[in-house]
């Protein structure tokens, strides 16, 4: 017969993909703000993991003679009413705040995806019931909801994490449901059924992996929001009891002395703000990568 089987080799495409890895690093260098954001976030994680590497001061032991010392080379952030080094307290506080944040995002991400997946895949009555409950959750301001939950469970950092997590489930569920709905209607999902893959197999192998990308981008955005919520609840006194260093609590403790010793609130507050802004910047870049 006249025509021959002749699969064209596609070498150039492979080369293209190999190049994209190095391009990403190049992008980072060309965007100084993004680079700076990564440094800040990595630094904050470093503080949380190994605080003693970053400061020689103790977060608890104060020097009564040095109370309200202004920021200096010895005390970078200054000292508070009891003469405790604020930089040390901020560094040690990162552990409490960021752990709670991580927990909150994990709870919201895990439960939210599960709820959204169920609603989007099962459809019908289940979908209607779940999504109306989600609507109710979305209607209540999340900080208010978190406060109610902490009040019921009792004041502690772990409960704050739980409360912030639960109050953000709704957002994840909505995004996940929308993604699942669109993925389920794709040809490759129908094709998988056609090949004889079971329903569970289709969900686990095709629907979930292909739905998760935009939910992951939302999770990155949610980190900043969750840090704010955790610190906000700490500030209001729902979290760790006073001697503990926690970012929200640090700001709260300095509140009464803002006029005479502004650094007591400002320095931990600035650290908090920088970390939140940095996570936002990073999540925006992740979303753009995803859109590309």
């Amino acid at each position: 017969m006249a025509f021959v089987l002749n699969p064209r080799p596609s070498a150039p495409r492979v080369e293209l993909i190999a190049r994209s890895g190095t391009r990403r690093l190049g992008d980072l260098v060309r965007q100084p703000v993004l680079l700076f954001s990564w440094i800040i976030v990595l630094l904050a994680i470093g503080w949380a993991v190994a605080p003693s590497l970053f400061t020689s001061h103790s977060p608890y032991a104060g020097d009564p003679d040095a109370s309200f010392a202004a920021p200096s080379l010895d005390h970078w952030f200054g000292t508070d009413r009891l003469g405790r080094d604020l930089f040390a307290r901020s560094v040690y506080g990162a552990g409490t705040t960021l752990t709670a944040t991580l927990l909150a995002v994990l709870i919201a991400f895990g439960l939210g995806t599960l709820v959204g997946l169920t609603a989007g895949f099962v459809r019908g009555v289940v979908d209607t019931v779940i999504m109306r409950v989600v609507d109710v959750f979305l209607a209540i301001p999340s900080l208010l909801l978190a406060m109610v939950i902490v009040s019921v469970l009792g004041y502690s950092t772990n409960n704050i994490a739980l409360a912030v997590g639960i109050s953000s489930i709704a957002a994840f569920a909505r995004v996940m449901r929308a993604e699942v709905l669109s993925v389920v209607s794709r040809d490759y999902v129908r094709a998988a059924y056609g090949l004889g893959v079971s329903r569970i197999g289709v969900v686990l192998k095709h629907v979930v992996p292909n739905s998760l990308t935009s939910v992951v981008a939302l999770a990155a955005l949610e980190v900043g929001t969750a840090i704010l919520a955790v610190a906000g609840l700490g500030f209001l006194g729902y979290g760790a009891p006073p001697p503990e260093p926690e970012w929200g609590l640090l700001v709260a403790e300095g509140r009464d002395f803002v006029a005479s010793a502004p650094w007591t609130s400002l320095m931990p507050g600035a650290a908090l703000a920088l970390v939140v802004l940095s996570t936002h910047r990073i999540s925006v870049s992740l979303r753009k990568d995803h859109a590309r």
Partner: protein, 563 residues
């Protein structure tokens, strides 16, 4: 300025009706580049095109050949990421290269009319057809006139485009018209500025074959009646051969063949053009033979798949009324072992519904399906899954039917895994490699992702995957329709080879009668959900009993010049 351009152009034609001094459109050595990152890559590399009055020139090329970019460049409609990097464009001798958009807007419509590709998306859905034509009249008139004059000019334009009932169409919205009528409305819009040349970008690719014939007939008539020059862009060599005076073949942005139809047909000098000609389904009289040698006369096999009296009705609900769509009306089908049964029809004929009932994606309202001796109608869950071992499905579009996150080897191994076969890793890998070779791909493809493959390679992977369970029957739903014609030819050959080797039986759904002749033993022609005619391909093609079948056969592009 531009008026004088048009005037001189027309005056010149009046004075000298014989071979005109200047062609209507002359593109010289045009280079168009696209920006990718910070580099520019050429999509059109030095192409020259001329169109004379009363001449129909076809520009033929497969996807990615740069044919659309070329005419966008000629019309000044390039996207922002593209630029004209060299060459010249002249309309009737007036060089418009580098004209800004405002000046080009005066040339478009007045001098050159553009007919876009897809009539279903090219009209504004919230405006009546009449308004849209009037708009084109108003923007392109030489001296301003009143609303009544606009209206009558628009009606005249609609009539010239072949819409007999122009008054009624004038008052209708796009969704009230069929695809063919929408394409005529677009032609009317292109004609509204009384252009001397029409540029049509795949004007019939989204239309059914019988409608395509009517539209092309009309374009040809416009050319001879109005003396228009027409530049027809198409991927379908059959259409080009049937309709044009000259053919230009574009490959990778370069002109590889140019000349009058007969010369291209008889003495194509370029190997790519010859391959395209070979690949055009209409050029083949009989069924494809396996590459391994002639196959025995079609085995008079026992039926492996029987469908009887299948019906399916969809309930349509709009805000105002409920209605029913009878998608399938008592359709029968018998597939003999080791043969191919093609289901042919135009859009809405119910052929896809039929295929999807056969494989159990859709439940029929009435009727039965037997695979071998087993009744499979209404199977659910486990039993339906078991059926998949015998009956597999290949989708139309290989760009959406493969999970983008799966590597080729994982895609092919998926059905094996689903049924818990070949648990041993090495055994599975060797089966995957065996299947890859069966579809003429080598092991280097195993680790690739779908996006690293071309369309044809993807469809090969989809076929390999369908073969993984050693099924007896493959249901292919328009499995070659989304592919370029040369790739389509390769896939068809592959299917014929596999059939000879493995004794497979195919149900082959297609809208393209040319393809049917290449691959099928039996054919069922469908219209409006009902079977019009069924029987062996040779019989139906040589002596169609039904008028509709005759109409379909006559509409195959390129058939006249084919065998």
């Amino acid at each position: 300025m531009t008026h004088s351009l048009i005037d001189t152009a027309r005056a010149r034609e009046d004075v000298d009706p014989d071979p005109p001094a200047e062609p209507l459109l002359q593109i010289d050595d045009l280079v168009v580049e696209y920006r990718t990152g910070r580099e520019w890559t050429a999509a059109v590399r030095g192409v020259s095109v001329t169109v004379h009055p009363g001449e129909l020139v076809s520009l033929v090329g497969e996807s990615g050949s740069g044919k659309t970019t070329l005419i966008q460049g000629a019309l000044g409609l390039l996207p922002d990421a593209a630029r004209v990097a060299g060459g010249a464009i002249a309309y009737s001798g007036v060089d418009v290269t580098g004209w800004n958009d405002r000046r080009m807007a005066l040339v478009r419509g007045n001098y050159v009319g553009f007919i876009p590709q897809d009539p279903n998306t090219s009209l504004n859905p919230v405006k009546k057809i009449g308004q849209q034509v009037i708009e084109a009249v108003r923007f392109n008139e030489q001296e301003s006139s009143d609303a009544a004059a606009h209206r009558s000019a628009a009606l005249e334009s609609l009539r010239t485009a072949g819409l007999q009932d122009a008054e009624r169409v004038f008052q209708q919205y796009p969704h009230e018209l069929s695809g063919g009528m929408k394409q005529r409305a677009l032609i009317a819009i292109a004609l509204a500025g009384r252009p001397s040349i029409l540029v049509a970008d795949e004007p019939t690719s989204a239309l059914d074959v019988t409608v395509q014939k009517v539209i092309l007939d009309h374009l040809v008539r416009l050319r001879s009646e109005l003396g228009l020059g027409i530049l027809l862009v198409t991927h379908d060599l059959g259409v080009a051969i049937d309709r044009s005076d000259r053919i230009l073949v574009l490959q990778d942005g370069e002109l590889v063949e140019e000349g009058p139809v007969d010369r291209v047909l008889e003495h194509a000098s370029d190997p790519y053009t010859r391959r395209l000609l070979e690949a055009a389904p209409a050029r083949h009289a009989g069924r494809l033979e396996p590459t391994t040698g002639r196959r025995d006369a079609a085995p008079a096999g026992t039926p492996v798949l029987r469908a009887g009296g299948l019906s399916k009705t969809y309930q349509l609900r709009s805000r105002t009324q409920r209605s029913e769509l009878r998608a399938l009306d008592a359709a029968d089908l018998v597939l003999r072992k080791g043969t191919t049964h093609a289901i042919v029809g135009e859009s809405g004929a119910g052929k896809s519904t039929l295929a999807s009932i056969l494989v159990g994606f859709t439940q029929a309202d009435a009727g039965t399906v037997h695979v071998g001796d087993r009744e499979v109608t209404g199977l659910k869950g486990r039993q339906l899954r078991d059926l998949r071992r015998d009956l597999q499905f290949v989708f139309q579009n290989p760009f959406t039917s493969l999970d983008p996150r799966f590597t080729v080897s994982r895609l092919i191994a998926e059905p094996l895994q689903a049924f818990g076969l070949l648990k041993d890793k090495a055994a599975r890998a060797s089966r995957v490699s065996e299947l890859l070779h069966a579809v003429a791909l080598d092991d280097s493809f195993a680790g690739r992702l779908p996006r690293q493959l071309s369309g044809g390679q993807r469809q090969r992977v989809a076929i390999a995957r369908a073969l993984a369970l050693n099924p007896e029957i493959l249901v292919l739903d328009e499995a070659v329709s989304a592919l370029d014609v040369s790739v389509q030819a390769q896939i068809l050959q592959l299917l014929v080879d596999l059939q000879a080797e493995l004794g497979l039986s195919y149900v082959f759904v297609t809208h393209d009668l040319g393809v049917v002749r290449l691959i099928a033993d039996d054919v069922t022609v469908m219209r409006d959900g009902a079977v019009v005619e069924t029987g062996p391909v040779d019989g139906i093609f040589s002596a169609p009993a039904h008028g509709y079948t005759r109409e379909l056969l006559a509409a195959i592009p390129g058939a006249g010049h084919g065998a």
